[in-house]
Structures are given as C-alpha cells and as structure tokens.
C-alpha cells in the first residue's frame, strides 16, 4: 500500500490487496454558502487546493505537525472547502474499486461527531464511489453543515465545541474492499466500448470561475511568525446525502496492512506564503457574486441508497456565525448575504454508480 501526492491529490494505492485498488482524494476550493438558516444546493468547485508534504518544511512548521506527518494546504479564514473522492476503475472491470473512507476534523468524525477511533465503526465512514463528495458535517438526514475554516483556539471549530483539544486539520483513513469481494461482485469483463460509458457531470469549474471577491480587510491575518493553524467549523446548511454502507462491514479489508491514513494540516493562507515562498490561491468568490453570474449549483441525490440520519453529537454544535456572535467576535464570517440559487443542475447518483470517472 502507498500514499503519494500527485498533482495536489492524495493517491491511496493498495497493490497488496488488488492491482486496481486506487483512490484519489482532493480538496476543492469553493464558495462559502450563507450561514442564514436556509438549506442551499451544492456549490461548485474552483479547483484543487495546493498541497505540500510537511516533511519538506519541517524547519518552518510546529513540532506537532512533524509528529503528525502528512501534508498541509493553505486556507483563508472563513473559506470553505469540499472533499472529492475518485475511485479508479481497474482494467477490465465495469465498476470502480470501492473504498470505505473515514473523515475527521480535529479527530472528531465528520459523520457522527464522535471521537476518532481506530478501525471502522457504525456509520463513521462513507463509501466511495457511491459518495463522490463530502462538503461538511452530517447534521441531519440529507443535510450537512459546510466545512468552513476558522482559527484554532477561539472555540469556533466543531472539534472545540465537542470538547476536543484543538488539534485541527483533517484526518483521513482509507479501507479498500477485499479483493475477493470485489471480484465476486464485479467479475472481470471485456472493457465496454468508450461510447457506452456514461460520463459524470463535473462539479469543478476550475479556478477561472473563482474571481477574488473578499475584501482585503475581511481576511484576518495571522501572526507572521505563526503558521496560523486552522480548524474547521460548521458553516451554512447544504442539501447533501451521505450514504450508509451498501455492502456491509465484512466486505472491507481492515487489518493493519490494508489501511492507510493521512493527516491534512490547514495553514492560514498568509502563513502559507511565509512557509513555502509560494502565493496562496486568490480568495474565492462570494455566494452573492457567484449567483449574479447565474453560475450553476448542484443537486446530487439517490433514491436507492440510504442516507445517514446525522450525528446526534452535532445537535449542540453551533455554526460559526452563531458561535462568533455568542463570543462577541466580529468579522469572523464576512459577506454572508443570503442568495436564491436559480441555476441548479440535478445529478442523479446512478450516473456515477454506472459510469466511469
């Protein structure tokens, strides 16, 4: 098994399990939906966040980042992100190789709100390729609270509200399906002609659609000698189903030689430049400006798969806006005007399950 970085994507490979067991995970830049109590459709992606090895900058990073290993990416305060999963389709198979994927923020499950634990536990993982994207915390059935970056230490992150230590970042652990289960479900076939393959509508518009729109003074700068560690808070409500495991826990390879995990640190964008010498991406467009151009939003659903009900632990978690108001913090969530999305593209899950990536 191996975990590498390829064009800002994490690439998990498990040749010890199956030669085609390969999963790419990327972090997409996106607009922050308004935190106004309304439930929004899925926003677009504006391209991948740049990602670097922590090992390449150990002399400029905090000691605990060295201990955690993994990678880091730049993110502005109040910037949102979503996580994209892409399972590769092995040669001569008509289905992408499935993976169980755990996602945590500050070592709390983004799906249940529970403490991060080794191994797979009930409903603390999603299944790829059925789940192509994850945009936030699963707070209700079919509804998530968007991932929004906030500084650690102010009590705004979900992990801090759930009693965490303020470890920050995103944690990922990947479990491939057992090879015998994959081959039993989807035996080797002749490859289908390319014109019979269904494509997936791409949700990423790329960086061109992400014109800078935050006012400069709305981006809080961190201390120059700090990496400006960020965590994730709960942003606005968004319609997104996070599906339960349709295969069953016994289908996953779960011994220690079969899983791989990664700690993704979040550095304040301004500190990123001090660390790497590279400019961070431009600040993303606001929801209001995006809507003015009538760009598309997305609605991804499945009638066949069971969506998770939402973590009970999230019941007491406040959104970044509400928590900042409670603490008397100003300017935490700039440019939060409500919008009314009109151009909504519907993406049925079947198009992905039957299709090729």
């Amino acid at each position: 098994m191996a975990l590498t970085l390829d064009s800002n994507q994490l690439v998990f490979s498990f040749p010890n399990i199956h030669e085609g067991a390969k999963l790419s995970i990327e972090f997409q830049r996106t607009l922050r939906i308004p935190d106004d109590g309304k439930t929004y459709p899925l926003p677009p992606g504006f391209g991948r966040f740049p990602v670097k090895h922590t090992d390449d900058y150990l002399d400029k990073l905090p000691t605990h980042w060295k201990e955690h290993g993994g990678v880091f990416l730049p993110i502005y305060q109040a910037e949102a992100l979503w996580i994209s999963f892409r399972a590769h389709t092995p040669t001569r198979h008509a289905h992408a190789y499935p993976f169980a994927v755990k996602i945590g923020t500050g070592k709390k499950s983004a799906l249940t709100g529970k403490e991060w634990e080794k191994g797979l536990h009930k409903k603390d993982y999603c299944v790829v390729p059925e789940q192509p994207w994850l945009d936030g915390y699963v707070i209700e059935e079919g509804v998530i609270a968007q991932f929004v970056a906030v500084p650690l230490g102010q009590g705004l992150t979900v992990e801090e509200q759930l009693g965490g230590d303020g470890i920050g970042g995103i944690q990922i652990e990947v479990f491939p399906m057992k090879a015998e289960c994959f081959e039993r479900r989807w035996p080797k076939l002749p490859p289908p002609p390319p014109d019979q393959r269904l494509g997936i509508r791409c949700r990423s518009l790329g960086p061109a659609a992400a014109a800078s729109n935050y006012s400069a003074d709305s981006i809080r700068l961190c201390d120059e000698d700090s990496v400006g560690e960020m965590g994730l808070g709960a942003g606005g409500r968004m319609k997104q189903q996070v599906f339960e495991d349709p295969y069953g826990k016994d289908e996953w390879a779960r011994n220690i030689d079969s899983t791989r995990r990664c700690f993704v640190h979040l550095a304040n964008s301004m500190a990123w430049e001090n660390i790497t010498g590279e400019k961070p991406p431009e600040t993303p467009v606001t929801a209001a400006a995006y809507e003015r151009y009538n760009y598309p939003w997305y609605d991804y659903y499945s009638d066949d798969l069971q969506a998770m009900k939402g973590g009970k632990k999230f019941a007491g978690v406040k959104t970044v806006k509400d928590k900042a108001a409670e603490k008397g913090l100003k300017g935490v969530l700039p440019e939060n005007q409500s919008v009314q999305p009109k151009n909504i593209l519907v993406v049925p899950a079947k198009a992905i399950r039957n299709g090729s990536w």
Partner: protein
C-alpha cells in the same frame, strides 16, 4: 552516463585532483584516469565503496552505476522478486517526475 563519466563529474564538482582521489582510495592516479576515460571497466566492490566515501556519494547509487546490486537492495528484492520485476518493468521509460512521485510516500506520523 558511464561509471567513469560519473566518477569524473563527482571529482570535478568537488575540485579534487586525480592524485588526491587515488591516494584516499589506495590506488594510482593513472588508474583513476583510465577509469574515468572508460578504458577500464568499473572496479571491484571495495574500490567502488572507497570511491563513494571519498567522493561523498551514496554507496548504493555508485554500486548500481557500476552495474551491480548492493546487498541491501538484493535482500529487499528477494523478498518479492516477481513483484519487483513487474514494478521495474512498469516504470521503465518513466520521466524523472513520475519516478519522484512513486518514490515519495506521504509519511504518516503519530496522531
């Protein structure tokens, strides 16, 4: 790049003379000169290792350039010879960028 060319490149980069290198390795400057010009084949393992030490090169790298597999690498390959053969065949002709990506694992730490 041949073994001799590689040795000459390392020696020049470090500004060392033929005599200096020969003295440290325990041979003659004429032999090193012939080696660099390709008139002699790569030397025995002890001389390759002595050259690596003198020229500050990874001994495993210099052994491979001399056309031999260091014992440590042989032991690794012997654990899964078929898989390593397939991996090397698959990577044949790959760009340096691709090889860098393959070689660079993301480290997982304690958390």
């Amino acid at each position: 790049m041949t073994f001799g060319e590689y040795i000459r490149k390392l020696r020049k980069e470090q500004g060392k003379s033929l005599r200096q290198v020969a003295k440290q390795v325990g041979t003659t400057h004429a032999y090193i000169a012939q080696l660099e010009s390709g008139k002699f084949p790569p030397p025995t393992d002890p001389v390759v290792l002595a050259l690596a030490e003198e020229l500050g090169e990874d001994p495993d790298i210099l052994m491979v350039i001399a056309g031999r597999l260091p014992d440590g690498l042989v032991a690794i390959i012997q654990e899964h010879p078929l898989e390593f053969k397939q991996i090397l065949q698959r990577l044949k002709g790959s760009s340096k960028e691709k090889l860098d990506r393959v070689a660079r694992e993301i480290r997982d730490g304690k958390w």
